[in-house]
Amino acid sequence: MKKRWSAIWLLLFILIGWEAAGRWMEVPAWLLPSPLKIFQAGIEDWTRFYLHLLSTASLSLGGFLTGAAAGLLAAVLLHRVPGLRHPLYPFIILSQNVPVIVLAPLLVIWFGFGLLPKVIVITLVCFFPVTIAALDGFKQTDRDLVHYFTMSGASKKQLFWKLEVPHSLPSIFSGLKIAATYSVMGAVISEWLGSKQGIGVYMTLASSSFRTDRVFVAIFAIMLLSLLFFFVIVLLERYFVRYQRKELR
């Protein structure tokens, strides 16, 4: 139990140090507000802020789910359909390199200001780590086990579901963890695409009216949200990759 709290202690320590340093060196609040000020601003704004928070949270969750699903689907397709891998692989990489600045107007022009373009942006951010990790997982499936399966007449589907998927679960979770972490930032970025609500909106407004304390409220919210997502995935991993934990060492 003590171990689990060590991060919290460290965090508290950092916050206290920050507060102290801020007071000591008289850093102006607009440059770097003290944790107490940020906390205060968070409380003051709470009634409006939690709506932004909810909006971003549901957007990231939706985006993450579609992103993860798309990522797995892509991995499965590239892995199982032999002809697809070679031509499509480079395009998957390319998809990570279309800057949002370019994509944004196109997405808005094609899909308007609704939910869809935003989900597309998050999906684009989230699917990539999942695809790469899942593909690498599939590729590394134990040779002896593959031999047993093929000789026993397992269909491709069985080979996939009963061997390759469970075998690459740790890899897949590794990708999901990365994706979960990115999903919140992805949501915030996607809110640049003409949103009325969300932490991204709150933050730009705060930033453009020079309310650094509120900017930090937004940052803390983003961080907490991502941590939450991440640890939900870790819990799921613990549940699904249970057998690993019974290890000797």
């Binding site: 107007p105 022009i109 991204g200 009216s209």
Partner: protein, 307 residues
């Protein structure tokens, strides 16, 4: 804004802002909140474009109207982007080069051996150069740094000595913080640089196909801006109410400063002059900032402003 059961008879119209809402946009929010748009049969949706960039959205017709700048429209038209300015939000250019007072930069000749923080556009260099030439200073002795998204106050804490700001927002924030600024307005140095910023814009198709809506939109908008001119405090409150995440103090002070500048010396709010478009276009062309000459008459129109 409030919505009533009659919304379905109203025409849906979208306006994209240039970036986040600020006092440049007060008139639009007033018109929405006070029901001026509705009176004209419009249901207006105000949208922040984020990275999407308002001009493309307006030009492509995805948004009906947008907030833009003369500079942007000029460049856009040179690239055949069919966007047209339909009203000047502020009559005169309120931007200029600002620096903290303790840097002692009181005129463009002091720019020598200083560092300017910008966003890397060739236009900046030409404008600074024009200012410095007037004072016989050499622009080559100025160090220009690209400071990207960094905000003014942060930038001048470090390597940067001065930057280009809108007084009506960043300058007012400095007042609130009690930081003394030195400011050289563009208009003080060259009439040619007194261009419109910001403006309301729409696309050519809209003008051709639905002039009534443009007229209605501008009628309501000008009522909104006139309200803001007459009652800056009330107008500021409306903006704060519509966008509660803005800083109220900044909005109020900024509104006080800006309200008289919307119409300024013009006959009516929104009026644009051919000379302004011509001058700045020529200036840009002369400084090799445009590939060809601007057809100024097509870049703007006063046709839809209420009489």
């Amino acid at each position: 804004g409030e919505k009533t059961g009659t919304t379905d008879k109203l025409k849906k119209v979208t306006v994209v802002l240039d970036w986040t809402p600020n006092t440049n946009h007060t008139g639009l929010y007033v018109a929405k909140e006070k029901g001026f748009f509705k009176e004209e049969g419009l249901d207006v949706d105000i949208i922040m474009p984020g990275d999407a960039g308002a001009d493309q959205l307006v030009a492509s017709g995805k948004a009906d109207f947008g907030v833009s700048y003369q500079e942007g429209i000029t460049q856009a038209r040179i690239q055949d982007v069919p966007i047209v300015s339909i009203a000047a939000v502020i009559q005169h250019n309120t931007s200029g080069f600002a620096s903290p007072a303790d840097k002692n930069i009181t005129s463009p000749k002091d720019y020598e051996k200083k560092t300017y923080g910008g966003w890397g556009s060739p236009i900046e260099k030409q404008i600074i150069s024009s200012l410095m030439e007037k004072e016989n200073a050499d622009v080559e002795k100025l160090n220009i740094v690209n400071m990207g998204d960094t905000d003014f106050f942060t930038a001048v804490k470090r390597d940067i000595d001065f930057a280009w700001i809108f007084y009506g927002w960043t300058g007012i924030e400095a007042e609130i913080r009690g930081e003394k600024l030195n400011m050289q307005y563009l208009t003080d140095y060259s009439k040619k640089l007194d261009y419109y910023t910001p403006v309301l814009a729409t696309n050519e198709k809209m003008i051709a196909k639905d002039p009534e809506t443009v007229k209605a939109f501008l009628k309501a908008s000008s009522k909104g801006y006139e309200f803001a001119i007459d009652k800056p405090d009330e107008a500021a409150d409306i903006l704060i109410k519509e966008v509660p995440d803005l800083d109220p103090e900044l909005v109020k002070k900024s509104q006080q400063w800006l309200s008289p500048k919307y119409q300024d010396d013009a006959d009516r709010w929104g009026e644009q002059k051919l000379s302004v478009w011509q001058n700045y276009g020529d200036w840009m062309y002369d400084h090799k900032l445009l590939e060809k000459k601007l057809d100024a008459k097509k870049a703007y129109t006063n046709e839809f402003l209420p009489k």
